[in-house]
């Protein structure tokens, strides 16, 4: 059994691109955990998509042996947490599994919104925090200013901040020493007590089945044990116990304070809930760990195959992805406009994008994604409460007493030159300002916003109005009533269900006009003119007319051109496949998303 005094469990919190993965690589490299020849960049980011986007979706862990200056060899367990707001619950569980954090801030950038969101999670988990200023090799590094910012904005002491360059390796030994000296060992556990371990995360491996990352609190995890998941109730026999270095390496057992993995012939990730408590089937512990929460999707959209013959492929793909991700939901949706597809629920927008990209890329299915929607609470006149996640399903408003929508607290950090733009954007999106403070030349604004106004293109707009200088994070705060209505879009007098949206009544005209104008640009001219209308109930609130096509003829046609023209017609027919037919009108697939983008 490993003496807990020589264990340090920690995570790294950072805004994206501040150097978390690079630092992790350096720590692994300097301690010789991975042979030099096996070193590749971003060791912990396993999936292509993670590497490409520089984001982490699943928690990863690595065990590092470190011979410290005091003569003892310490075991350092790093948990790399997903950094994105979509996975904030998963992050909170990872944080609970360790005792300290390295707060990495890019010394050329300073504190960003994600720095804040993540460090608050660490503070909530009672972590000891060691500030680390990274990228000091760059001339633009402003160590004093950023240290001051950490003190002002976050409120932690930065006098002993470690100055490093994860790129060149400067300061890495100091980081290792600080982990040992400044972070606490795991609290005393009892190896003799019944097993109590936290399920930190899990992933699907095609050869091993589900691999579960665990943190042991009390008792000992061993091969052959029969375990029970306290929330889901499932029981399993442990096949393997091990640690990541970062390759999988089996060990005999994991005792109190240790972090590692188990496999137990678990078929799907759905059977393992992040935050669940693992104990033995017999003589198990009595009370589970606090803080467990089932994950609840907050953003919904329809995914439809461009080629409707691929629906079964789409369903297969989703089922396979679901093997590794218990946090999204899906059910078959049939749209008059788009045929058969899946209505899927996600933890957030990034989560949606990641899953959609993986379907398109790994399964080669081209998708039409309908506008994301949040979950509305409809309070019916008969007292019933209904959840609405697809505007097309909105019941007759005369039966609805009131509608509530989810709200968020959004934190935005922005150089003050762009503050005006940000305030205008938030105001336009029905935001209510809650706080505005300055740290140096940067402002921090906190807004209460409807989630509905954010899920779509808020982040894109924010980036564009601030030239990429703003950072943004949010948390969901609850539901509030507002004057919401369903707006339908009629193309050539026929309603297109996939284009219906929920909007605030006061903004309906403006949104309706914008959507009709956009659609007029997106739909190609036809042989007849096409009215495009926005309506609330039976009342038309905006209208545009797409004039008829005037010219589509091959000017010159010689004998030989028959063959060429035939090819052109065939191409034209193939192009039609990318369109969806609504009555006599063909709508290009990209229209379903682009129509909703707001330029102003």
């Amino acid at each position: 059994m490993i003496d807990r005094r020589y264990i340090r469990n920690f995570s790294i919190v950072a805004h994206i691109d501040h150097g978390k993965s690079t630092l992790a690589d350096r720590l692994i490299q300097l301690t010789g955990t991975v042979a030099e020849r096996d070193m590749k960049e971003q060791l912990l980011d396993a999936m292509d998509i993670e590497r490409e986007r520089g984001i982490t979706i699943k928690a990863n862990t690595v065990r590092i042996d470190y011979p410290a200056q005091d003569g003892h060899t310490y075991i350092l367990n790093l948990i790399d947490t997903p950094g994105h707001v979509d996975f904030s619950y998963e992050v909170s569980r990872s944080m609970q599994a360790v005792e300290g954090s390295l707060l990495v801030v890019d010394a050329t950038q300073g504190v960003e919104a994600q720095t804040l969101a993540n460090v608050y999670q660490a503070i909530d988990a009672d972590h000891e925090i060691v500030p680390v200023l990274n990228k000091i090799d760059l001339p633009a590094a402003d160590i004093d200013r950023v240290a001051e910012q950490i003190e002002d904005v976050i409120g932690i002491d930065a006098t002993d901040a470690i100055q490093i360059s994860a790129k060149t390796g400067v300061g890495i030994p100091d980081v290792l020493e600080a982990i040992v000296q400044r972070l606490p060992p795991p609290p005393e556990g009892d190896a003799e007590k019944p097993l109590k371990a936290m399920l930190v995360d899990s992933k699907y491996d095609p050869y091993l089945g589900v691999v579960v990352i665990v943190r042991v609190i009390d008792g000992v995890l061993k091969k052959g044990q029969r375990i029970r998941m306290m929330k889901t109730g499932g029981t399993y026999d442990i096949d393997r116990v091990g640690v990541y270095r970062p390759a999988m390496k089996d060990v005999d057992e994991l005792g109190p304070g240790e972090i590692g993995y188990i496999t137990a012939s678990i078929k799907q990730v759905r059977d393992t809930r992040v935050g669940d408590t693992i104990t033995t089937e017999k003589k198990g512990c009595e009370t589970p760990l606090p803080g467990f929460k089932p994950s609840v999707p907050v953003v919904f959209c329809g995914l439809f195959p461009v080629d409707s013959a691929q629906f079964d492929d789409l369903r297969d793909a989703i089922e396979k992805l679901a093997l590794n991700d218990a946090s999204f939901t899906y059910e078959v949706e049939s749209s008059a406009a788009l045929g058969f597809g899946l209505r899927c629920g996600f933890l957030g927008l990034l989560h949606l994008e990641v899953i959609r990209d993986r379907i398109e890329r790994e399964y080669d299915i081209e998708l039409i994604t309908t506008a994301p929607s949040v979950v509305y609470h409809l309070y019916m006149k008969d007292g019933e409460m209904r959840e609405l996640s697809n505007p097309a399903d909105m019941p007759d408003p005369s039966h609805v007493d009131r509608i509530e929508e989810p709200r968020i607290k959004a934190t935005i950090l922005v150089p003050d030159d762009y503050l005006g733009e940000v305030l205008k954007l938030c105001q336009d999106r029905r935001g209510i300002q809650q706080d505005l403070t300055y740290a140096g030349s940067r402002a921090m604004v906190v807004y209460d916003l409807p989630l509905n106004e954010v899920v779509f293109d808020f982040y894109d707009r924010l980036k564009s109005v601030t030239k990429g200088y703003a950072s943004f994070d949010y948390e969901i705060t609850g539901y509030r009533e507002d004057r919401l209505v369903k707006m339908s879009i009629l193309v050539n007098d026929e309603p297109v269900d996939a284009l219906s949206v929920m909007v605030h009544r006061d903004r309906a005209e403006q949104r309706g006009r914008a959507m009709c104008e956009k659609l007029k640009e997106l739909i190609p001219r036809h042989m007849f003119k096409i009215p495009i209308q926005a309506a609330i109930g039976g009342k038309v609130i905006a209208r545009e007319t797409l004039s008829a096509l005037r010219k589509d003829v091959t000017a010159k046609c010689y004998g030989g051109d028959v063959t060429r023209k035939k090819k052109l017609l065939e191409k034209q027919k193939a192009g039609k496949k990318k369109m969806r037919q609504f009555g006599r009108v063909e709508i290009p697939q990209e229209a379903f998303i682009s129509a909703l983008k707001m330029d102003g």
Binding site: M527, R550, K551, V553, C557, Y558, G559, T563, K566, L569
Partner: protein, 393 residues
């Protein structure tokens, strides 16, 4: 699903006549808009080409012997770069191979430079009785932008030389050019009509992928092209001015006084039979009741050496009756006669979808008397859509 596809009449081609197309693949320079099979070559051994053409005429003659030839067309490339001797030898062999219709039309496409005009007498002596001049524009600035080697004045002189030597002279203009206004085109077309004899081909500039214009267009560097509405207005103006001058729009881009239509092109549009000889030439030849699509090797050198070696120089693909119906529809709706519904139905196994015909005719785009189906003047501008609509799925 058993739809007894009636066998098409074996002699279907007779409805459209029989023509011979000869392709001369060389030009003095490549025009930036042109995607024809045309090549610039420093030296062309005209005698080798002559021998190759003659041997191909012999071969094709054996496949279609005894048929009455309605037209011969020397197209390009720039056939006016051919030696008159070559043209004479080819036409001699043609006369020895097929019986000629009394009113046979023998056209040569010519570029209107002074050098080429010098050869016109020789062509006339060889038997050419019609020239089609690629004048393209009547002002020098636009000619330069189109990459042409002649000036407007030179073109007019070539035109006069042509009139002196040939019974029939037509010329081509390309409009809807860069920076061309509707008024400018109206003025230019009036000039052209004043100058014309009895036939004009008026093509809207088409940006073809793979050409210099195509490349520039793709990167957004081809300025001043008309938008769809201006293009349509220019087309309408063209119809209006030509009609007022008595030039019927017998095809989408072709206008003629009565009786002056190009017989050779009508063979294509009436979906007759035509033999194609020369690099990249296409043909449609009925043999033993089967219509065969032929397409010759495109590269001039490759074609030449294949013919010289006695190797196959073309692909030959039988066209199923339903596809013939599609081709007939595509070609036939271009001309004012339209398509013969009886002939179409025999090929397709069924008439065009009556519901779609009804919708199109209600929209004023086609009209039918039950025997023929035609595109209306409004419909012509949307012909690609109409054809796509009517083609059997």
């Amino acid at each position: 699903m058993t739809e007894a596809a009636a066998a098409p009449p074996a002699e279907d081609w007779r409805a459209g006549g029989f023509g011979l197309y000869l392709h001369w693949p060389f030009c003095a320079a490549k025009c930036p808009y042109c995607d024809f099979n045309s090549h610039v070559s420093r030296s062309v051994d005209q005698r080798r080409w002559q021998a190759a053409f003659l041997s191909e005429i012999d071969r094709v003659g054996r496949l279609s012997g005894g048929r009455v030839l309605n037209s011969v067309f020397f197209g390009g490339g720039t056939p006016s770069l051919m030696d008159p001797d070559l043209v004479a030898a080819v036409l001699d062999r043609v006369r020895a191979t097929w019986p000629l219709a009394n009113d046979i039309e023998i056209t040569l496409e010519a570029n209107p430079t002074s050098v080429e005009a010098e050869r016109f007498r020789g062509y006339a002596e060889a038997g050419i009785n019609r020239v089609s001049l690629g004048i393209q524009a009547l002002n020098d600035a636009d000619l330069a932008r189109l990459g042409r080697l002649h000036s407007a004045a030179e073109a007019r002189r070539a035109f006069d030389v042509g009139r002196a030597h040939f019974d029939r002279v037509s010329f081509d203009l390309i409009y809807a050019r860069q920076f061309q206004s509707l008024d400018a085109w109206r003025a230019e077309l009036s000039e052209a009509l004043a100058m014309a004899v009895d036939h004009l081909s008026l093509y809207q500039l088409t940006i073809e992928p793979g050409t210099a214009f195509g490349d520039r267009f793709a990167v957004g560097r081809l300025a001043g092209l008309p938008d769809e509405d201006l293009g349509a207005d220019m087309y309408d103006t063209t119809q209006e001015l030509c009609a007022a001058a008595g030039y019927a729009a017998y095809e989408v881009s072709n206008h003629a006084l009565p009786g002056a239509e190009s017989r050779h092109n009508l063979v294509y549009w009436r979906y007759g039979d035509y033999a194609g000889i020369g690099p990249g030439a296409h043909g449609r030849l009925t043999q033993g009741g089967t219509r065969i699509a032929t397409e010759a090797v495109r590269l001039p050198e490759a074609w030449l050496s294949a013919v010289e070696r006695g190797a196959t120089c073309e692909s030959r693909t039988p066209i199923p009756a339903r596809e013939q119906a599609g081709e007939y529809l595509m070609m036939g709706l271009r001309i004012s006669d339209g398509i013969d519904l009886g002939r179409y139905s025999a090929l397709a196994g069924a008439p065009p979808d009556p519901a779609r015909v009804a919708a199109l005719s209600q929209a004023g785009l086609v009209e039918t008397d039950g025997k023929f189906l035609r595109a209306t003047p409004d419909g012509r501008l949307l012909l690609n859509r109409i054809v796509a609509e009517l083609l059997p799925d």
